[in-house]
Symmetry: C2
Subunit: 309 residues, 2 copies
């Protein structure tokens, strides 16, 4: 039996860590967004893959929600002195991931292979796979023009008004082999959309040719976790963006983002209420600590299994 989790950044990493805690290692595959990836200081940086990796390794910084716990910033300090860019924070430990990954990618290795080797080195037994080994780059169209994702997200702190999003390179990208294998696994039991930003984190994954079709044709239950509680995002700009697009942040608005892709939506108790087309399950969705993550993971798996009956 196996579970496929589809994840973006912080919320995805938290639920992925919960699922990893409650499932046997061999039974979980986590497919991760790479639309946020970018080149910075000559390094290939994969923020969502790294967030999930550090969370599964138990070395994530829980206060910041990204990066490595106990991180230090000597590199950034010196880079600033040397006239380098400092708008994107690169911690000293985190930097090892970027340097070694960049070296491996330049040497011709696939991102999947790099992720597999690094997660193994950190003792992670779950399969963590990028959505694609080909570059897909999220571009946000705003009232100030088109912005590369990290320009919008980090440099501009999501201040410009969100108008539209596109995923450059997606039409030529191939689904990563490990992602395709998980989708086609005869032992697949359920698909879980983590409580990630549906537009910034999950839509890029759905933009990879074949992913949406495979999810539409699923023979197992698929459930999503809403990233909102009472209309507010737990972290990040999801509420701001959904508002700027006129979509709102209700359970119905989240379900619309996953139309045809899910059978159930898990929402916070604050958002309990029936929807057309999907079964709604209300629980406490805030994940403050690993215990919350594991509890929510158990509940979402229980919900999916109930849908299979």
């Amino acid at each position: 039996m196996s579970i496929l989790a589809i994840a973006g950044g912080v919320g995805g990493a938290k639920l992925a860590a919960g699922l990893a805690a409650v499932l046997p290692a061999g039974e979980l595959t986590i497919a991760v967004n790479t639309g946020d990836d970018f080149e910075h200081m000559g390094l290939t940086i994969c923020p969502d893959i790294d967030s999930v990796t550090y969370a599964l390794a138990g070395m994530n910084n829980r206060e910041k929600g990204w990066g490595v716990a106990g991180e230090t910033w000597a590199f950034m300090d010196m880079a600033g002195k040397l006239g380098g860019e400092t708008w994107f924070a690169l911690g000293d430990r985190d930097l090892a991931t970027h340097v070694l990954r960049t070296q491996a990618l330049r040497g011709g290795q696939s991102l999947s292979a790099v992720v597999a080797r690094m997660t193994a080195a950190l003792g992670i037994g779950q399969r963590l796979v990028p959505m694609s080994d080909d570059p897909v780059r999220t571009i946000v169209s705003t009232d100030e023009g088109d912005l590369a994702f990290q320009d919008y997200f980090v440099r501009r702190q999501c201040a410009p008004v969100f108008r539209a999003i596109r995923f450059d390179g997606a039409e030529r990208a191939q689904m990563a082999a490990g992602f395709a294998a998980a989708l086609g696994d005869p032992g697949l039991e359920a698909i879980v959309f983590c409580p990630s930003n549906p537009i910034l984190s999950i839509a890029p994954i759905l933009s990879v040719p074949g992913v949406r079709d495979a999810l539409m044709r699923r023979r197992v239950p698929a459930v999503a976790l809403s990233p909102f509680i009472a209309g507010q995002a737990i972290k990040g700009p999801a509420a701001k963006i959904m508002g700027e697009l006129g979509l709102g942040t209700t359970p119905g608005a989240v379900a619309d983002q996953y139309a045809g892709l899910i059978d159930g939506l898990m929402v916070d108790r604050a958002d309990a209420g029936a929807l057309d087309g999907v079964l709604v399950c209300a629980t406490d969705t805030l994940m403050r600590d690993p215990a919350d993550q594991a509890r929510l993971a158990r509940e979402v798996l229980g919900f999916a299994r109930k849908l299979a009956d």
Copy 2:
């Protein structure tokens, strides 16, 4: 008026810092060995340029003799956890130099341009120039075969017996424009060979086409500082290598390395004594601190000026 210093690693960095302390900024050019440069973890590392840069910026680690003072090692620790190589120590601050330099070189900038920008960013007013913008790579032939320089120097700690040295790429390398300009400067007053390893640090500079000829045709005094005191190297494998080559470590052996290139040799008081062909000046050559560096710089400049009379 201008002074041209020719420098390798630690000893070169010390005297260069002394010269920088006693000369007006615009009057000193330091040409630095790049034969030690190598690619590691996908980064271009220039150990001698960095030693001189950090020394001139007053941020060098005086205890180790290389790297940045107050350095931290979080990157190395994480790189080791990720399965990366750890035999070459890359400090967190030092790494900013390597990452930004590699990015600039990959973007098509010359090493000279990168060095000029970084030294300016660190407030260094002296001209620091690589011997060449083209790659020259020192290869050491040993009783265990040919070794890339850092394999010999760092990974093997100079343990294999030194047989010969060559400088791959030197025959196709061009002298860096700033080095050529310093050699051809009508205001050039003297040339100083820093107390660097003649074979590992100075010979690669002399291997660049045109350098030896220009030095032979000099119209100003050239003086060298012996890196030995009473037959012992102050730091590094110079004595071991000179011994393994059957050259010895006397002032005469040093002078032979610079045959035709120098008019005077400055040695430690422990090595006082006349030589054929070059004037010898004996003083205290050990540089324990910046005061020693400045004193020795004043003395070597005074020695060179005396030779011009």
